[in-house]
């Protein structure tokens, strides 16, 4: 059953829309259809955060009293398609004031002199608002993590950090808290609605609710474009002025938005946003959790997915090298039939994969670590946060103690940014495999890497830097694995230690 509308809460007002081009972004809708100009366009590419709005949605988990609860997520309105609002509450900067009284997230910025030109301010306010909805007493690191996707060109950030770090414990109940139960009830009602569709300008958006519906949709219309967070796809619309005829949103597909653990594996639905599995991965692989914290920024991690990052087959996606190094597998679904392949075997050539027509990624399976295994990840970019890697190195090393050292019994050295696809350095691996991890074997691996890759020069880095740094990262990994260094880990990005 389908309905030719989408429904969502615009703050507290239930809105039903139809006959709007589904290529419309939330930002365009707010500014051009709703004449709400508080949310700003800084870049229309998800890089600056000026357009940050908050989406409240029902959490998969109940609260401590077994009641439904809301997740407040900051997202970039400029790269979020309108249809993705269905079933959620959209909160913009205009909604925060309670009468004439500024919200705590606003007042603290005023009090700390955290505005200058003010154009980025609504975005910071919304990111800070979302942070405090989950954490009333954030520490500095938590503030930085929540605000790293908001650029400010004027203040130098100190005043904004001071504002966001202010505890909201005594701020009192805001209007969202007052309406909390009503919001939950409305969103619960929306959940029961038939599959939403948005038609406009000859283009269509549909959000299937289960895997069969999705498979049928793709089988019937193989030229459909899958969209999850849309953090990459939307750029083709806002930057290249492309028009997507048929958008199929996977974020509502129940089977694609779960995370499950078995004794030996973690299975992550392809349409589950990063922010919902980062903690699990961080638990098993701290390096991986830390690296994911540097993928895009909070707004992107709140919508971006594994399926998108892998399926996109970009040579500079950060997850594929990590997944390849981990020996992760992926389950592909084609009209009721499933197959499982190594993530490593998914990529054929630049932006080309083994995915067949109408086939889609259902889930990614990551093995849990066992004793003797180590995963080391290094993301090299000009800027720490919200930057695309020049090189992403993912090293998986399994060692067995021998009489005269530690013999490498299994090794996968995977790289992003070094070739047209994410790829392992097989010659470098061969130099390590079966040998003790020593200065000499590491030097050989470094030298061998030069035969594995011929990286390119582009706006992010030169070929020479890519190769040099990739080689040096093998050495860095080696140094970090020495016991003498265990208390002195050289972090991916240098820290004051």
């Amino acid at each position: 059953m389908v309905a030719n509308t989408i429904k969502f809460l615009m703050n507290n007002e239930l809105v039903e829309i139809e006959n709007i081009d589904p290529n419309t972004t939330v930002l365009q809708y707010l500014r051009e259809e709703q004449f709400k100009s508080g949310t700003k366009e800084g870049c229309a590419s998800g890089d600056c955060g000026a357009c940050t709005v908050v989406l409240a949605e029902l959490s998969n988990e109940l609260d401590s009293e077994n009641k439904a609860q809301l997740n407040y997520k900051s997202v970039n309105a400029c790269i979020t398609f309108l249809g993705n609002l269905h079933g959620k509450q959209l909160i913009t900067v205009e909604d925060l004031k309670d009468g004439a009284k500024l919200h705590q997230a606003q007042q603290t910025i005023v009090d700390n002199h955290g505005t200058q030109c003010g154009f980025c301010t609504p975005g910071f306010v919304m990111s800070s608002f979302a942070l405090h909805k989950h954490n009333q007493t954030p520490n500095r690191d938590e503030v930085l993590e929540a605000l790293a996707g908001n650029l400010c060109r004027c203040t130098g950030y100190r005043s904004i950090i001071d504002a966001a770090i202010t505890s909201s414990e005594n701020a009192g109940e805001d209007s969202f808290a007052k309406h909390y139960q009503d919001t939950v009830a409305t969103l619960n009602e929306l959940k029961k609605l038939p599959t939403p569709i948005l038609n406009g300008n000859g283009n269509t958006y549909i959000a299937p609710q289960n895997i069969d519906e999705l498979a049928t949709e793709l089988t019937n219309e193989p030229k459909s474009t899958l969209v999850a967070g849309g953090t990459d796809l939307a750029l083709s619309v806002t930057q290249n002025l492309a028009v997507v005829k048929k958008l199929v949103y996977v974020g509502n597909v129940a089977e694609l938005t779960t995370i499950e653990e078995t004794e030996s594996e973690i299975v992550i639905g392809s349409a589950l946003p990063y922010s919902e599995f980062i903690d699990t991965l961080h638990h098993y692989y701290p390096d991986l959790g830390d690296m994911i914290e540097r993928i895009g920024a909070k707004q992107v991690r709140n919508t971006g997915t594994l399926g998108g990052n892998v399926g996109n087959a970009s040579p500079i996606g950060d997850m594929p090298p990590a997944l390849i190094a981990l020996g992760a597998t992926m389950t592909l679904h084609l009209n009721g039939t499933e197959r499982t392949i190594l993530v490593e075997d998914f990529f054929l050539d630049y932006k080309k994969t083994v995915l067949k027509t109408s086939e889609f990624i259902k889930s990614i399976t990551i093995p849990k670590p066992v004793v003797g295994q180590t995963l080391k990840l290094y993301k090299i970019s000009k800027r720490l946060d919200d930057d695309i890697s020049a090189v992403l190195a993912a090293f998986f090393i399994e060692k067995t103690p021998t009489e005269n050292g530690q013999k490498v019994t299994n090794v996968r050295l995977a790289f992003g940014g070094m070739a047209g696809i994410p790829k392992r350095g097989s010659a470098a691996e061969a130099a390590l495999l079966g040998n003790n991890l020593t200065k000499e074997s590491v030097a050989q691996a470094k030298a061998a890497l030069a035969t594995d890759f011929q990286p390119m020069t582009d706006v992010r880095a030169s070929d020479k830097y890519r190769m040099t740094v990739a080689q040096n990262l093998i050495e860095k990994c080696y140094i970090e694995l020495q016991s003498a260094y265990t208390s002195n880990v050289i972090e991916t990005r240098v820290v004051n230690n």
Binding site: K40, V110, F119, G156, Y157, R158, I388, V469, L473
Partner: protein, 789 residues
């Protein structure tokens, strides 16, 4: 009879503000932490920027087709598909321009739309007006343009070899630098490439043009120079200035990028509005904004220096070569400022400073916070480090040794005496408060014990000349009205881009009348209220407009005093403005009450004010004079840590001491300092502009051009203002300019990075580290030293 508005009487006023006020400060709040006048609106999404204005009836959207070649003749331009495209209402080329086709702000060279040839990738060829922003953008892509490619100049070296200049070279000479260098105990020479910088104002370029009933045009624009927009719009439309009104409420950031380069988009919107008779909005999408607007000039500088065994400079030759792009724009003055600031804080003795204005086939580079000053200073700061390594000394020792003296060695290479020089005190104070010497020791020790991570520290000073070097720009006007409810309306010629100018000027006016600052409403800068204004630039906004507004307020205040004396038969000395009241002899009126009485007695409650900067003069031909009213000074200590395997780094602590004179608003000044420092640090570290061999900008969006994000701000960030330091010159409340000077404090980060790299070779070699010092450049600097060792 018509009645006047009800106002509070004096008795209803509380004395709260008096209690809160500081001695000698008074109610206007000059000297206190007043919040930004727009802060409440900004956090609520209620502050209106140009693109937020409600659409006007029939409003169209403009866009332009762009050149895909760096240098070419246009053979033909087929726009039929553009004209036929959905939503397109009008297409124009330069043939359709009724007036001037060149909109060069100072010198000609900037065609509003291409005239037969193109000189950079992204140059506007033609313009369309369509019914929506997206339809306009889509339509311009349909043009078929045929080019005859011409040889393009795409490097500074090539431009120098071909003597391809936008303006003639210029030199400043003092004494005989060649002989002095030769006679000195030591000589060094070298070069440095200093990268440019994208402004990345969060609000892109935008203007709306609305035709008026008499063939004129109202322009709403995001511009630092409304009067120039007014002039250029009038010129392209061939109408008099009095038919063009420009309104500028606020910018979402400017940084120099909207000084001259906001005008083209306003002109094109106006041309299309004139053609269609409908309002036209023109906003640039971010990517196009980055491709089509000029940036901070990249410079390639070189030097030869002679110094004594202590490291004191005896003679120096510096050549600064600015990459100006394809047209003069403001480059003459920008390269001049680079030459003026080639000394930064140091006495150069015998010197020859030469500046070349290189013409390249790229977008025309333009004003950017510091206006060439930063690029000029980089050379001498490099030299300080080079001398120090050469002599095996701490660079700070060399910097101190070369500072301008107080009584001698105190004349610049352009013959201006450096008066009231407080840099040695600032450095001494900062050295102590930042614990520089102890940290220097600890860092050297750390580096000896760590093979991979290395730390570095540096202290760099800034001395920045305040005034436009073009003398006539150093003037400003203001308009103040007092209404019959006692509220005050303020207009001035400056434009608010976030720097807090309106807040400060409102404080100044409130201070004059001793009323709450909320009593003063500062309106948009409008060319019909304050005419012939200068750009808001050169850090001069408050200095100029604050004085003009003060003058206007003083005029009204004097009228009120004269009136009080006459009406109540008191002496002028018996009339006081205090705590929102006017005290006349024994009587106390609320300010509002007294304004009404004055009105009823036919006293004019409106006045203009005017100011021009005193003392300045400069003879460019001779290269001598006093171009600057005073110098703004400050210093910074930054500590960094680098990873010698990857080149990654982090600024871990920054201490700044800045002289802002007697601050009008310390909270705003500290915000300017912090923001300027981080922007300066970004310029020298992660912000890399990359053009390809065809002259196309590759770093053309915020995904590829990385300004500092929140994690890049130093975790330990300590900013202080020099206490009790009123400007000895008679500036507005003896304050000092603050917009640009702290930008250059970012040089400390660059110097600290070099310090960390130098540790790899035991501080015996000075690493070459061009800017921006990306992780890639840092790694290669490390590798060069390792192989050198």
């Amino acid at each position: 009879m018509r009645t006047l508005i009800d106002v509070k009487k004096a008795s209803s006023n509380t004395d709260k503000a008096v209690v809160e006020g500081q001695v000698g400060v008074g109610l206007g709040g000059v000297g206190t932490h007043k919040k930004h006048e727009s802060a409440d609106k900004q956090v609520a999404g209620e502050a209106i920027y140009v693109d937020d204005r409600p659409a006007l009836r029939g409003e169209l959207h403009a866009y332009v087709g762009q050149s895909t070649m760096a240098h070419a003749n246009i053979i033909s331009m087929d726009l039929s598909a553009v004209k036929a495209a959905e939503g397109v209402v009008k297409v124009i080329t330069v043939e359709d321009v009724p007036g001037h086709t060149d909109i060069g702000p100072v010198f000609p060279g900037d065609p509003v739309l291409a005239i037969g040839k193109v000189e950079f990738v992204g140059q506007p060829l033609f313009a369309v007006a369509a019914t929506s922003f997206d339809l306009a953008r889509k339509a311009v892509k349909l043009a078929k343009v045929e080019y005859e490619e011409l040889e393009a100049v795409l490097t500074v070296k090539d431009a120098l070899a071909k003597k391809s200049f936008v303006r003639p070279p210029h030199s400043l000479k003092r004494g005989d630098s060649e002989s002095a260098i030769a006679a000195a105990a030591h000589q060094l020479s070298g070069e440095i490439n200093v990268g440019g910088q994208e402004h990345m104002y969060l609000e892109g370029q935008v203007s709306t043009a609305e035709p008026t009933e008499d063939g004129g045009m109202n322009i709403f624009t995001s511009s630092q120079h409304p009067s120039e927009v007014q002039k250029l719009v009038a010129e392209v439309l061939d109408i008099p200035l009095n038919k063009v009104l420009v309104d500028m409420r606020r910018m979402g950031g400017g940084f120099g990028g909207k000084e001259t380069q906001a005008a083209p988009w306003a002109c094109i919107a106006a041309l299309l509005a004139n053609e269609t008779g409908r309002p036209v909005k023109f906003k640039l999408a971010r990517l196009d904004d980055m491709v089509m607007t000029g940036k901070r000039h990249p410079f390639e500088n070189n030097y030869t220096v002679g110094f004594d065994e202590n490291g004191q400079i005896k003679g120096i030759n510096i050549e600064v070569n600015g990459n100006c792009g394809y047209s003069p724009d403001l480059s003459d003055a920008i390269v001049d400022r680079a030459m003026f600031h080639s000394d930064n804080a140091y006495y150069l003795d015998q010197s020859t400073i030469t500046g070349n204005r290189c013409k390249l086939n790229t977008v025309s580079h333009t004003a950017y916070r510091g206006f060439g000053g930063p690029q000029g200073m980089m050379t001498i700061e490099l030299i300080m480090d080079e001398i120090a390594r050469h002599l095996g000394k701490d660079p700070l020792e060399i910097r101190k040794l070369n500072l301008y003296g107080k009584e001698e060695r105190n004349v610049t290479h352009y013959d201006q005496t450096v008066e009231h020089n407080n840099l040695s005190e600032i450095i001494e104070s900062l050295e102590e408060s930042s614990d520089y010497q102890a940290r220097r020791k600890a860092i050297t020790e750390y580096n000896a014990n760590n093979s991979i991570l290395k730390k570095g520290i540096a202290l760099t000073p800034v001395k920045f000349g305040i005034s436009f070097t073009v003398q006539h720009l150093n003037q400003a006007g203001a308009l103040v009205h007092v209404y019959t409810d006692g509220t005050i309306h303020l207009s001035h010629g400056g434009s608010e881009m976030g720097q807090g100018l309106n807040t400060k000027v409102a404080q100044i006016v409130a201070q004059e009348f001793q009323v709450d600052v909320d009593t003063v409403a500062c309106s948009a800068a409008r060319t019909d209220k304050v005419p012939n204004s200068s750009p808001t630039a050169a850090s001069s906004g408050t200095d100029l407009n604050g004085k003009a507004a003060e003058a206007a307020a003083k005029t009204i205040k004097q009228r009120l005093i004269d009136f009080a004396c006459e009406k109540y038969d008191v002496e002028a000395g018996q009339v006081h403005f205090e705590s929102n009241n006017v005290i006349v002899g024994e009587q106390t009126f609320s300010f509002a009450e007294f304004s009404q009485i004055a009105y009823m007695n036919r006293v004019s409650l409106s006045s203009t004010g005017f100011y021009k900067t005193p003392k300045i003069h400069y003879d460019r031909a001779a290269g001598k004079g006093r171009p600057f009213f005073y110098f703004a000074t400050g210093a910074c200590v930054s500590e960094v840590i680098i990873d010698t395997l990857t080149g990654e780094y982090k600024t871990v602590r920054t201490d700044i001491l800045q002289d802002v004179g007697a601050s009008i608003n310390p909270a705003i000044d500290i915000g300017q300092i912090e923001g300027a420092f981080v922007q300066g640090m970004g310029w020298l570290t992660t912000e890399e502009l990359v053009w390809n061999e065809q002259g196309r900008l590759l770093s053309n969006n915020p995904a590829t051009y990385k300004i500092p994000a929140i994690n890049d701000a130093p975790e330990d960030f300590r900013v202080a203002l020099v206490p009790d330091a009123p400007n000895p010159e008679r500036t507005i409340y003896n304050s000092k300019a603050v917009g640009e000077p702290p930008f250059m404090l970012g040089m400390a980060v660059w110097s600290a990075l070099k310090d960390a790299v130098a540790s790899v070779a035991d501080y015996k070699v000075s690493p070459k580290l061009d800017t921006p010092a990306t992780p890639e450049r840092v790694l290669f600097a490390v590798e060069a030293l390792k192989s050198n060792k």
